[in-house]
Amino acid sequence: MGDGRKKILLVGDNPFHGISHLSQEQARIRGNAMTYPEYAANLVMTSLDNEANGFMFSVSETTLSILKILHETEGDKRPGLYALVPYAFEYVRLATQLGTSGLAKKFAKQIMVSGNVRAIAMGLKGVIRMDPVTLLKTYLIYEISRIKSSAGKQANLESLLLHEIITDMGLALNLDWLFKSYVDFMLKLGIKPGFDTRNFAYLVKKFNGWGINFRDVIIAAPFNKVGFQMDPSKRECETALATLDETNVIAISILAAGYLKPLEAIEYIGSLPNIKGVAVGVSKEQHARETFKLLKNRLE
């Protein structure tokens, strides 16, 4: 079943944020234990001891705390880090409470307080000109500095991925110039630019049209047996995947948010071409011990 090539096997962070895309009710019943950084960090470490080789996470206070614990506990291990920015949930919540302008002010204050001179200087320039590219670069520098201050300067930050809300809004609005600037900027920093999307087929079509090289980027997108969040359809996403020359796609939502059993989910992923890796959330130590071994056995 496996293709003999080493796969990227990432621990996902959804359970650590109390997320269940199957049922929010279920997430509430499950309780808050998984959102405690110590508990979550232990699950990540157990996964890394059992064939996982990286961690995919949204940059939030919770995951930064997890990174700090990992760094302090297993400083020399340096798993591959795949960071999603921004942590959209927190920004949407703040926009709800403070309004869009209130959110912008709060964010500007955070950058100022961070003391990151490069980010502050670039941010001021961006605000004065209201230049989206400069503002994006400011934001990226700020987030990278937050990750490195928690995970250590030697952290193996493999990729910084734009959250689905940003990626998909950019795709919808044809912001090719923004995507290209992002790719160039990240490549210069030596970090692989990434895109998290719920519209994989649409992204492939647009990137081909815009001349963005799939070799340069990482794409994270849902792939699962039941077509959950594979828009516009499972078939179109599979067809788009098959057209790629490069295998830089990380499959997410492979369990369709817990709807599928691991074995049937992995069998489906194993049947797809061009999948470079998967990200799976785990909520119990037993899951952490079993899931990634199973993935390695079946996919590689």
Partner: protein, 335 residues
């Protein structure tokens, strides 16, 4: 009035998160030309001018009047819906209007907007997007098929943690219209869609966060044939990471629970079934935010192109404003 062109010229007024979300989805639809954006904020306009190079960005509604627009989306804060929409009709900016819920700040305003739409408009719709969620659609189908027999009672809820622990939010929560308009409107609309006309019997409002708008509401309703319903609404509820909406519906033949994620049916004869989103064909042409946003925009645009009336129209949506006014009035009488 039938449109003479196949592609619609569209403007979005109000560039908060809902405005940007609708503008993005509209831009993926065939037959739509995103033509103009309007916002009072100087910074957001400056930013949008840099982002949207082929779209007119203006600060004043009147500047939209010479753009020959077919459709306008109103995504401004609720308190401004009436004046903005009145201007759209009176200045002849467009005849087809979509307003993000709620229709207005009161039932009086809502009625006036219905009259204006009748006189000066064609197709009009209000963004009660929960009707486009596959789980609530499934529940509506089951009710229409009389699966539960005679419906006797229901409990409805809308909860979020958006303002939990929030100390200073008067301005924002008031601009969102209070919890009844912000969260409650969705579940009130669902109940009206499921059960038809309802009247409020008793109501209680609380303002734990601020005094300018209510932060939680409980009220009892009934229908003329005796069906009874209970609503509980709050945006200060613990552990609701995302807003959640749901109903428990009891009938002579069984009980149904429905929320954003799942429909669960338990019949008296022992048969029980449940459906997750996964089971209900939840895919859409372009997924942004939630599938229901795409469905409602696609439905509205198609309806305009085909000159077909829509639901929820202004008239349908005005009934939500009626219930909200009743809740406030009953709560006032109680206090």
């Amino acid at each position: 009035m039938r449109l003479s062109r196949e592609s619609l010229r569209v403007a979005v007024i109000g560039l908060g998160k809902m405005g940007l979300l609708h503008a993005s989805i509209l831009n993926t639809l065939p037959n739509v030309e995103l033509n103009a954006l309007c916002d009072k904020g100087a910074l957001i306009r400056k930013f949008c001018k840099r982002v949207f190079d082929r779209v007119r960005v203006v600060d004043d509604l009147e500047k939209l009047s010479d753009l020959d627009l077919d459709v306008v989306y109103v995504t401004t804060p609720i308190p401004s819906h009436f004046i903005v929409t009145e201007t759209i009709y009176s200045s002849g900016i467009a005849r087809n209007v979509f307003i993000e819920k709620t229709l207005a700040s009161s039932h009086d305003e809502a009625k006036k907007l219905c009259e204006l739409a009748q006189s000066f408009g064609d197709i009009n719709m209000v963004g009660y997007m929960k009707r486009f969620a596959v789980t609530f659609r499934k529940a509506k189908d089951l009710l229409d098929q009389d699966t539960l027999g005679e419906v006797v009672s229901f409990d409805a809820y809308a909860y979020s943690s958006d303002f939990l622990g929030s100390e200073k939010s008067s301005k924002t929560s008031a601009s969102r219209g209070g919890v009844l308009r912000d969260l409650g409107a969705h579940v009130i609309d669902l109940a009206l869609w499921f059960f038809g006309g309802l009247e409020v019997n008793s109501a209680k409002l609380e303002q734990p966060v601020d005094e300018c708008s209510e932060d939680s509401a409980q009220f009892r309703v009934n229908r003329s044939d005796g069906l009874e319903g209970w609503f509980s609404i709050s945006w200060c509820r613990e552990n609701y990471r995302l807003p959640e909406f749901g109903l428990v519906i009891r009938g002579s033949e069984g009980i149904m629970r429905v929320n954003d994620d799942r429909v669960e049916l338990k019949l008296n004869d022992g048969i029980s079934s449940s459906w997750y989103r996964h089971d209900l064909n939840d895919n859409v042409g372009f997924l942004l935010g939630a599938p229901e946003y795409f469905r409602e925009d696609e439905y509205f645009i198609k309806s305009v192109l085909e000159n077909r009336n829509v639901d929820p129209s202004f008239y349908t949506a005005s009934k939500v404003d009626y219930i909200i006014d009743q809740v406030k009035s009953r709560a006032g009488n109680n206090g």
